[in-house]
Every structure is written in C-alpha cells, then in structure tokens.
C-alpha cells in the first residue's frame, strides 16, 4: 500500500478537522476510525472557554494547558479555517475567539459559545418585541412551556407566545429532533406553511427545536425565504441535528479533497523505528492490516471514546502507543463530591502531555515520538467540561498538528 503523508486515528471533531487541514495542504491523508465519534451527540457549537473573551483569558492559563502550547495566533487561524471549510458545505458559522454568542438551550436557558451555527445564533433576541416558541406536535424531549418560563427570566420585557405546530410527524416511531429533521428534509413546505400562519414580522423571532434538516443550510434557507421573522434553533438531547450537520460538512470537505476515510477500523498498535512511528495496524477485521505513514495524528477522543482507558484505578492507559498518561495522584485529588459543581474534576484533567508541537512527552518532558501528534480530548491538563473548551481545543490542536 502507498504510504500516507499523514494518518489520522479517530474521526471525531478533532480528527475530521486535522484531516481537513492536511488535505488543504494537498497531503495524502488517511483517516482510520472506529465508531462515529461524539459529533452526532454534540450541540454543534464550538466552545473555546466560558468567558466574555476566550482570547483574552487564554493568556492567563497555566503553562501546561493545551491552549498555551498551541498559541493564541494559531487558535485564531484555526477558528477562521473552520468557518471557511464549513461554509463551503453551505453550513454558516458565526463568531470569533474574542467573543461569545448566546444560544438558547432546549430548556430555555442561555448558553454562550464562540463559534455558533448561524441557525442557532440568538444574539438578535434582545432586539425583538415578540418571541414565538414552536410547540411541535409529537416531538419528544422538547417542552415549549418550560422553555418559555426559563427564557422569560432573561427577557422579562418581551411578549412570548407558544405556537402549536403540526408537522405531520405522527404515525410512526417516537419522534426525536433527528427524526423530525429527517422527515422535514425535502418536505420543508409543511414547516414554512405552519410558521406563516403566525404572521410574525421582522420585529419578532420564532424559536424552534433543531429540526431544519441535516445538510448544511438547505432546509433552513428554504423555510427562511418565506418567513419575515428570524428563526432560531435551540440545542437538543442527542442525537443532535446541528452536530450531524457539522459532521457532514467536514466529511464533504474530506471527500472533495480525496481523503481516504475508513470506518470500522480500530487501530490497535503502531510500529516504530526509534523515535519515528512508521505506521499503524488495524485489528477490527478478521486479519490485521498495516497502514504505513510519514506522520500520525492521534485523535482518539480520550476517556469518552476509548482513546484513554482505565482498567485499574489510578493507572490510565493510552492503548495504541502506550503513551504515558498524566493524572492527578491520590484518590483525594481524583474527584470532588459535587459532580456538576463549579470546581474542576481531577479525573477530567487526565490525559497525554505534549511539547509545543503536540508530540507526546514523558514525565521529564522528553519527546517520545517525533512524528506523532496528540490532539482533541486526549490532551491532558485541562477539564474540558468545566471550562467549556472541548470543541475549541479539538479544532485548534488539530489545526496545529496538521500544519506541522
């Protein structure tokens, strides 16, 4: 088999982004992935840090934080490149790393993020007079009245109206937002007709669950062309159409660029000559298969996706290359009682430590493999969930690793 310029292990957000960047450099890229990663579950928004200006806050992070290794300038370039490639698949993202944009969650609270799909950008809510909230007949896990009750707390001066909407979703399975998005693809008229009846004007906004199709902006554009009010999608429980749109947009870019993408391909080992990885072996078929490469990017998603494992307590492993995994020692540092509290969780700081080139290092800071780069949720020294930085670290580490 011909040697790849770069093999990316893992097809989640970090892996797809790294593949896009490398393909844009006209490299011969192969992606090996086992399972479709967390994008179909994710909100679609890319969080960088939960603060007014993530860009400013990054400067104050401790040196071991992945953002410090990537560098603010690179993070900014990554964010711009991300918006550029998603827009090529007709999926528009708004935002920049020096600001945050509000999003309405499924329960009507506001959440802030730096890169947000245009369809979810709720900035304009504050300038609206009246806010309609669609109550879609038969849709699971979306409660318009709860949403209104919560959102009123942010916007006490506005008029809210719950708008019953029958999209003819009944008569089959239980309908999630994914199902509704599937059913509405190519059938946008029924939604447009339903929304038209509200007679909403430019001064109004209509909040709907994320059901505007699964391909970029196509379904949304179709509906929007017939409605004067702004239509704003919320987040939802998984599976999440905005996450799936993002996954498909990135996949489209890879396909256009001739990237080889192999599913059901679980990497089990690497082969090395000294400090150089020469290739990887997949073991999910009936016989092992070797894929040679000049460079490897490890984007296997940390604990959540099997990139890191923990068979024994206090002894986390990286199963492919057996890289050292940093973790806070001692059970007392391991977690704090309040799982969803405001303090970081020790266990979620666990991960692989790197140098500024994202090469894995040992406890003395010595580089283990010169052509192996670690990205995304595998990286240690950061509690992604606590600081709201999972997406931002994923795309910026991916960009840096792929540009080296």
């Amino acid at each position: 088999m011909k040697i790849s310029d770069v093999i990316i292990i893992g097809g989640g957000l970090a892996g797809l982004m790294a593949a896009s960047v490398a393909a844009n450099r006209r490299q011969k890229v192969t992606v090996l992935t086992y399972g479709s990663g967390s994008l179909p579950l994710a909100s679609g928004a890319i969080d960088f840090l939960n603060t007014e200006s993530p860009e400013a806050a990054i400067k104050n992070l401790p040196a071991h934080h992945p953002y410090k290794k990537i560098g603010v300038k690179n993070i900014d370039t990554a964010a711009k490149f991300f918006c550029h490639i998603t827009s090529q698949a007709n999926l528009i993202y708004n935002g920049k790393i020096s600001a945050q944009i509000p999003i309405v969650t499924a329960v009507g609270t506001l959440k802030y993020s730096s890169l947000v799909p245009e369809s979810m950008n709720a900035t304009k809510l504050k300038s609206k007079k009246k806010i309609f909230v669609a109550n879609v007949k038969g849709l699971k896990d979306f409660y318009a009245s709860m949403l209104v009750d919560n959102l009123k707390k942010y916007f006490p001066d506005k008029t809210f109206e719950i708008a019953p909407l029958d999209l003819n979703l009944m008569g089959g399975r239980d309908i999630t937002c994914l199902s509704a998005a599937q059913i509405l693809t190519g059938n946008e008229k029924i939604l447009a007709d339903g929304l038209k009846k509200l007679n909403a004007t430019e001064d109004d906004a209509i909040i709907i669950p994320p059901i505007l199709g699964l391909e970029g902006n196509i379904s949304r554009a179709e509906v929007k062309s017939q409605i004067r009010a702004d239509i704003i999608e919320t987040t939802c429980l998984p599976p999440s159409p905005p996450g799936i749109r993002l996954q498909r947009a990135l996949m489209k870019y890879l396909q256009k660029s001739g990237v080889r993408f192999h599913e059901n391909s679980k990497v089990i080992h690497g082969t090395a000559e000294g400090k150089k990885i020469t290739g990887v072996i997949i073991g999910s078929g009936i016989r092992e298969k070797f894929f040679p490469a000049k460079k490897i990017i490890l984007a296997t998603g940390g604990f959540y996706s099997g990139g890191l494992t923990m068979r024994e307590f206090d002894n986390p492993k990286e199963p492919i290359f057996d890289l050292p995994v940093f973790f806070p020692t001692g059970a007392e540092n391991w977690s704090n009682e309040n799982l969803f509290g405001d303090k970081p969780q020790g266990f979620s700081m666990t991960g692989i430590f790197t140098n500024d080139n994202l090469n894995p290092v040992d406890e003395n800071g010595k580089v283990l493999y010169e052509n192996l780069h670690v990205i995304g949720a595998n990286l240690g020294g950061v509690d992604f969930i606590h600081e709201h930085s999972a997406g931002g670290v994923a795309i910026s580490s991916a960009h840096k690793a792929a540009m080296i």
Partner: protein, 402 residues
C-alpha cells in the same frame, strides 16, 4: 477480533449513545422504523427471554451502517437478524420472501430445463408485464436479475489455465455464478496473471446472506456448516478461498461467527479473502504483477456497505490506481438502498429507492468514464436508478492485463 464478537454478547455494551440511529439510512427514509438502538440492543435483551415482537424490525435492511457508527462494538444489525429469525419461528415466510431467499435453488431448477435461462428471462419480463410480480409481493418496477445463458460453473471447465503450485479457490457467489459470469472470468484472468491457478469447489453452497435476512436461520446454519467444513479443508491444504462478492466475503469472514459463534467459523474465516484484499496482500509481499497496460479512465467507485464493514481499507481503489492513467474517485454517497434482496420486496421498493437517491444523483453527474462496485446487487441498483451500467473493479483490472 476478540471472542466477544458473537452478536448476542455485544448487546450489553450499548451505551445508548444513539450514534447508530444517526447513521441508519432506513430511519432517514421512513418514519415507521424505530431504528437500530431500540430494535437491536435494547429490545433484543428482552426479546431473547420472552415472546415480544417488534413489528418495525421488518424494515431493517441489514446494511450494517449502524454497526460502523457504533463506538462500543455492538453487532447491532446481526442482533436484528437474530430477532427476525425468532419472529419467523412463529410466522411463516410469505411466498415472495421464500423466493428471494432461495435464489440459488431457483437458478438450479431453471438450468435443468432446456433453454431454461432464456425462458426464465422471458418469463420474468412477461411476468412483470402481467403484474405477476406485484401479485407475488415482488417489486414490479424492478428488473429481476437476468440469468446468464451459461452459469460460471459450467463455463469454468472450458477456461484454459496454466497449472501452478500457487492456487486459490474461487467462491463464486450466486450472483457471479448465475447472473454475471464475466466477473468470474475476469477473476480467473487476474489470478492467472498473478501466477495463481483458480480452482472451483462444487460443494460450496450459497453463503446464506439472503437466507439470514429473510429469517431462514436454520437453513443458513446448514449452509454455514457446509461451507465452513469445505473452507477448513482448503485451509489444511494451504489454499486460500477468495471471492469477488463483498456480501459473501462478509458472511464467510464475520457474520457466521457473529450469528452462530462456533470457534471453527473463526478458524475458517482466516482462510477467506476478498479478491482485492488478496491482491493487495500479494502486492505487500512484492508478488503482484505490475505489468499493466495503461487505460486512461476516470472511475467512480461506489464502495459497498458490506466492504466498509470488513476493516480492510479500500484495496480495489489502491490496486486499480496502479494502472497507468486510472483515477479512482469514491462516490461517498452512502448506501445504495438495495441491500441484497431488500429492495426486491414490493413493500420495500420505495424505501430502497429513497435511500439510493443520493448515490443516483452522484452517478448522474457523469463526470467519469465508468462506475465500479464490488457488489452485484449494488451494481443492479445503480443501473436501475440511473440507467448507467456499472462493472466489477476486477473487470477493469482484467482489461489492464491484456
């Protein structure tokens, strides 16, 4: 692969992450299907212990897109097929289900008659015209696969091959044998060009894939036992079994074990290769014949679902790009929708065409010289949906060895 790949042990690994549902083409096409997570792992756990029928299971096409999305190694589609078999223990298959499951038997009957294939093909057209198809429950809008006048196994003895101590056994698969023997001929030519003599084993039966999807699990098990014994015989002689059909190879390599869990199925699987997987291994060993004539062709490659599930990369694309002037572009348009005999059922026809829409649109762009796909029914579906007739990648390679 670990022991834990036997399907019924995998259901408990389900994390309820819903990734499989996001990837299921049938769910995307219709709202009646409740989808892989619910039907396979969740419902499956109850179902094996008590009688409980999930009606919508009937919609699963066994395309395996769910398995490939799953991060936890749940054999979702096989769980579905096992449950379908449970259902058919208590319900009799309909006439058309029986027919579609037993293509091999039908073809044999027909070939026993003088001019059988010709009459059968005429009969199929007349039958279609008179609406017999619809009445039977077959998709009347579809052409049934036409029988070749001579099956590959009848043709094979007439092919002259140089004897060689390197041998491979060709597992023809029903479609190559009965409908497209030219694929078998191309296979022989390619193997000969690579110094391998091709053998045929008359004792092989249909791999059983059409039986499994229509709930004839006991019969599939008989075929599996028969084929596994034969494959192990060849294994003892050091002769690999190779097939150009990706659904057959998936069945022999992985699904037998997932379904039935016998250790010897695993051992047999180690001796089974997809045709291009085999050629790529030859290439890695430096034994691949690179004396290829330039062809100057742009090929659009529809990668069959059942190849994507095998974890062997894209060997056909890699090998064909060794031919001077050949450029392979993958279609990347998802499942073609036919999924074996699924799209031949009258009540599944519309679904199968809806699933295939993206691929048809991609093919209709016509920015290539030929469409290729390793799977016979994928090729039929593309032909039906676009009027453009694809070929097997091995036919292209055979051409380059001229």
């Amino acid at each position: 692969m670990s022991d834990a790949t036997k399907a019924i042990f995998t259901g408990d690994r389900c994390l309820s992450c819903t990734a499989c549902m996001a990837n299921c083409p049938v769910m995307a096409a219709i709202k009646e299907y409740r989808g892989p997570k619910l039907v396979g792992p969740a419902h499956g756990r109850m179902h094996f212990s008590q009688e409980d029928v999930e009606e919508s299971l009937n919609y699963c096409s066994n395309c395996k897109s769910c398995d490939r999305a799953c991060p936890a190694g749940v054999a979702v589609s096989t769980l579905n097929m096992l449950q379908r078999a449970e259902y058919y223990k208590k319900h009799k298959q309909l006439r058309h289900e029986n027919m579609l499951a037993h293509g091999e038997r039908m073809a044999k009957l027909i070939r026993k008659m003088p001019f059988g294939a010709k009459f059968a093909n005429v009969g199929m057209n007349v039958g279609k015209f008179l609406g017999v198809f619809n009445a039977l429950g077959l998709a009347g809008k579809r052409n049934m696969p036409a029988y070749a006048s001579t099956s590959f196994k009848n043709l094979f003895p007439k092919i002259r091959q140089a004897p060689s101590n390197k041998k491979v056994v060709l597992f023809t698969g029903c479609y190559t044998n009965d409908n497209e023997p030219q694929v078998g001929e191309a296979f022989v030519k390619v193997m000969n060009a690579n110094g391998c003599e091709v053998l045929i084993d008359e004792g092989f039966k249909c791999c059983g894939s059409p039986l499994v999807v229509t709930g004839f699990l006991d019969e599939a098990r008989q075929n599996a036992d028969n084929n596994v014994a034969k494959i192990l015989n060849w294994k003892r002689k050091g002769i690999p079994v190779v097939t150009p059909c990706t659904s057959c190879s998936l069945m022999l390599k992985e699904e037998y074990y997932e379904l039935f869990g016998e250790q010897e199925m695993r051992e047999a699987a180690e001796n089974v290769y997809d045709a291009f997987e085999f050629l790529e291994i030859l290439q890695e060993r430096g034994e691949f014949n690179e004396n290829l004539k330039s062809l100057n062709q742009k090929l659009l490659y529809h990668v069959p679902c059942h190849l994507k599930s095998q974890a062997i990369g894209l060997p056909a694309a890699n090998i064909l790009e060794e031919i001077g002037g050949v450029k392979v572009q993958t279609a990347d348009a998802g499942c073609c929708g036919i999924s074996g005999n699924y799209g031949f059922h009258k009540d599944k026809y519309e679904i199968s065409m809806k699933v295939g829409e993206k691929l048809f649109a991609r093919v209709k762009k016509k920015d290539f010289d030929k469409v290729i796909s390793d799977c016979g029914t994928c090729r039929m579906q593309i032909h039906h949906g676009t009027d453009i007739k694809p070929c097997h990648p091995i036919e292209i390679l055979a051409e380059a060895y001229q």
